[in-house]
Symmetry: C2
Subunit: 212 residues, 2 copies
Amino acid sequence: MNREIGNNRTENKNRVKSLQAKTDRGEATRQKLLTAAEEIFGTKGFHRASIVEITLKAGVAQGTFYLYFQSKDKIFEELVRELNHSLRCEISHAVSEVKSRQEAEEIGFGVFFAFIKEHRNLYRIVQEIQFVNEDLYKWYYTQFAEGYIEGLEKAMAAGEFRYLDPETVAYAFIGVAEFLGMRWVLWEKEDVPPKTLNTALKLIMEGVLPRK
Amino acid sequence: MNREIGNNRTENKNRVKSLQAKTDRGEATRQKLLTAAEEIFGTKGFHRASIVEITLKAGVAQGTFYLYFQSKDKIFEELVRELNHSLRCEISHAVSEVKSRQEAEEIGFGVFFAFIKEHRNLYRIVQEIQFVNEDLYKWYYTQFAEGYIEGLEKAMAAGEFRYLDPETVAYAFIGVAEFLGMRWVLWEKEDVPPKTLNTALKLIMEGVLPRK
DNA sequence: ATATAACATGAGACATGATTCATGTTTCAT
DNA sequence: ATGAAACATGAATCATGTCTCATGTTATAT
C-alpha cells in the first residue's frame, strides 16, 4: 500500500482534518453520532442541543465527536443536505412513472407527508437553518423549487396546467405542503387525514371558486 | 415609613417583580428596549441575540433590562404577541368593508406582504418561536387560522366559495402567503411583484387546471 | 430643602457549552 | 509478536451570556 507520506505537505495546508472514517469501526461510530444528532437537533433545536448530549446519546466521549465532524455547525449542515437529498430522491422516484402531472402532484404530496412523518425530527431542523446558516436555508428551498419549476413548465407547455408563473406556483405549492405538514404531522403527530389531502389537492387544482 | 421587614414574607412569595413602568421616563426606557430587541432578535435570531447587545442598542445598562422584563424569554414572547396582534388588526381592518370574499383575499394577501416588508425583523422572529416556546408558536398560527376559518365558512355558506374543509384551506392559504413572503420580501428584500401576487390569487381562486 | 419612590448602573456571580489535547486502547499488516 | 495508524477518552481550556446586587442618580410631593 503506497502511502506517499513523505511529500505530504498538504497535510496542514488544507485545514480539513481527516474526518472521514477509514475503517468500518470508524464509520459505525460516525453513523452513531449522526443518528444521535438527528434526534437531539430535531427535538431540542440547534442551539439548545449540545455536543455533550449528542455524544452521550451516541455512547461515545466528547472528543470522539471531533474525530468525525469539524464542528457543531458542520454536522448540522451535513444532516440538512442529507435530508434534502433523500426527500427529493423519494419524491422523484415515486413520481417517475406517473401518467399525468396531476397524478404527480397527488403522489408528491403524499410522499412528502409520509416522509416528514418518518423524519419529524429532521423536518423541524429545516425550520431553524436560517438562523444557523442562511445560505444553506435558501439552498434547501431552492433545490426543491428548481425541480418543481421544471415539472410545472412541462405540464404547462403540454396544456395539462394552464400557464401561471411557475416559480410562484412552485413556492405556493411548497408552502401549502409545509403548512399542512406542520398542522397535522407535526402538531398532531398523525398522518395528514385523507380529507385534508383531498381538500388540498382539489384546492390547488381547481381553486376555491365554484366551477360553473 | 413602616417597612414591615420582619414579617415580610410576601416579598418572595409572588415572584412577579414590578416590571410595569410607573412614569413616562420608565415607559420610554421600556420602549427603547422593545425596539432594540425587535431589531436584534430579528437580525440574529433568538439564541444569537444577547441581552448585552439589546441594552447596548437601547443605550441603557444591562441591569436596566431586568427592571422591565423578567427574562430574555419574556421579552421575546411580548414581541411575538404584539406582532401577532398588530398584523391581525391591520388585516381585519383593511378587509372590514370589502364587497366579496374574493376581494377580501386579495386585500388580505396584499396587506400581509406590506406588513412583513415593514416588519421583516419580526417576521423572521416568528419562524424561531417553535424552538423557544412551542405553545406560543402554535398559538401564533392558531390565532390566524381561527379568524380565517370563520371568514371562509361564511363565504362557503354564501356560495361565494365552494365547500372545502375550511381548516385545510386556511392553513394552505397561510402557507402560500408565508412562502411567497419568504421568497420575495425576505430573500429579495423587495415587494412581492404584482405578477406574483396575481398568480397567487389566480391559483387559490381557480387552481392550476385549465378551465374549460 | 429634603425624603422617597422610581429609575439606572455595571461589575461580577454563576452557569453552560464548544472545542482542544495529552493520553490511552484497538486493530492489523508484516 | 510488534509497530503504527486509527480510534477513543474526558478533563481542562476558553468563551460567552444570563441574571443579580450593592450602589448611585433623578424627579417630585410635601
